[in-house]
Symmetry: C2
Subunit: 331 residues, 2 copies
């Protein structure tokens, strides 16, 4: 299996495709990587260079309503707006639906409503593709396993494969050429005291897409070759910290991993820098809080907004230093 | 030779030490690394992990007046202020003078005046130690070669070994255990059209010294191991760009090398970040100017201030976008 269409065909080879007239609606949550996914070992199949580990954000994500359309092309709405065929999201969605078309032989009306900003480094594409694949499965009544749906979601957007479960999710890099072992796995650890806080520096789409940033980094950054080992070490240490609920170690690994990812980008050419001046102000504020003994750490994705990690006991204190912080309970 | 004192003794073994009563005064310029020195292969002898390449800043640096003092300890003034024995600069200077004491058997009155801010990432220690070693040589009439003085200066502060010449200077990493092949070499290339502009975000001493930042990076940054190869590649490419006066290539290598150095630091733990929010604003302004077709690049040392590199033809234009820019002519 050398391309995405082959993989989808394989995943659905023993499924019967229903073509119901009623629309279905599903929700998929966003997820934030604590150990980052940055770089592919196979671009055609969206296979990652390394494993990654995320936490799912309950209640934040995408709701997708899907129905079969008696038409020669798809009709796609994003937050209620009909998208033109030139819209990047339209193209991505249609390309993805085309993978299923040999089995489904139909077109769709799709309305995706996201309660997080699109393309601002807030994992909107992860929940978007997870919701889309869940919606297709529900609509056509395939009853695929979550593992199969995770593989299918990965073909849309790598990080989407982690949005099929709540809590901590490990995305194994896998070693198989066809990527059948590269999917999310729910971890058993729970951490009810853990909080994640979103700062909102900008909800504007980023100038450099994650995909472009990732490609540029792997192609031009002299530091990237040290990244896979960094991830292996961090991943092992983080799983241990999770098992033992050692928050300081947990926070240090998460923050260090995010900074190292951004460091590989900074050494790319042209430089890939998602931080804004305000991002650095927020980092400095977090480091100052730590110097004052308040255990708060951050992670940062392909955008300027930081996500703060802390325990519920410190929530009020941290809110005072970050007015407007959007705090979510993860378990 | 396993320590600094052995090296100084070796360098002076055939010299006669005069003890004149008249003070002497010398000036040594600062230098800015275009290919950075970051990490040591031998901490005891200040031997670098990699070679580096700098350009000397004419007229900016340290003037050191030295005379022999009939006393049991040194008297050291920095910018006219007598330093207490607790001052870090006092300790560094006295430790350095102690290396020479077996031969000189005297103490000194030293007054160093710097026309650049101290410890703000503006290479104040490079010019300081270069001026000190030149002053000792002049005072005692050793008439050491510049190569010998470069080795001696390196023992005070690594980058000081590049401040003995004007123009472009290569600091060879060397392979000898005693570091006798690790010193500056003047390069023959001249580039009269080249300009360097200092922005002044902060002239305050940095929170993390270069030495501490370097140690923390080499000890904890997972990305540091990719740094030596990055330097080799950049060094070769930069020398070619210099020979051919290819400004765009020159600028890209210089900026990329500085960003990669800061990237290795960002991945250290605790993170070593010398940038301030305003540093990032300045970077963004430079990248915008390049998008508008104006060839301007930057380098950044262990401090928040950027140094801009451009050609004289673009000077007026760049000054308009960076009011207060301190522009220096290098040749």
């Amino acid at each position: 299996m050398k391309n995405k269409a082959d993989v989808i065909q394989y995943l659905l080879h023993d499924k019967k495709t229903s073509l119901p007239t009623q629309p279905v609606s599903v929700f998929a949550p966003s997820n934030i990587a604590l150990i980052k996914y940055w770089g592919k070992r196979d671009a055609a199949l969206n296979l990652p260079q390394t494993a990654s580990l995320s936490v799912t954000i309950p209640g934040k994500g995408a709701t997708t309503e899907i129905s079969i359309l008696d038409n020669k092309q798809d009709e796609i709405y994003l937050n209620g707006m009909l998208l033109s065929s030139q819209h990047p999201f339209f193209k991505k969605a249609v390309d993805y639906l085309d993978l299923f078309r040999p089995m489904t032989r139909c077109h769709y009306r799709i309305n995706t409503t996201s309660n997080i900003p699109i393309a601002a480094g807030l994992a909107s594409s992860a929940s978007g593709f997870a919701a889309l694949v869940l919606a297709l499965d529900r609509l056509h009544q395939w009853q695929c396993s979550l593992t199969a749906l995770s593989i299918a979601a990965r073909l849309g957007s790598g990080s989407a494969c982690r949005s099929l479960w709540s809590g901590f999710v490990l995305w194994q890099s896998g070693i198989a050429e066809d990527g059948m072992d590269s999917h999310g796995i729910a971890l058993k650890e729970q951490w009810p005291e853990l909080r994640l806080g979103f700062t909102m520096i900008s909800d504007q789409p980023k100038a450099i897409s994650s995909r472009e940033g990732m490609n540029r980094t792997t192609n031009t950054s002299a530091l990237y070759r040290a990244w896979p080992d960094k991830v292996s070490q961090d991943l092992q240490a983080l799983q241990q910290a999770l098992a033992q609920k050692e928050f300081t170690t947990f926070g240090e690994i998460v923050e260090s991993n995010a900074l190292a990812m951004h460091a590989t980008m900074m050494a790319a050419w042209p430089p890939v820098v998602y931080s804004q001046p305000e991002t650095l102000e927020h980092m400095q504020r977090i480091w100052q809080l730590r110097e004052q003994g308040i255990p708060v750490y951050f992670t940062q994705d392909a955008g300027p907004n930081l996500k703060l990690l802390f325990l519920v006991k410190d929530e009020e204190n941290i809110r005072q230093h970050f007015p407007g912080l959007d705090v979510v309970t993860l378990f």
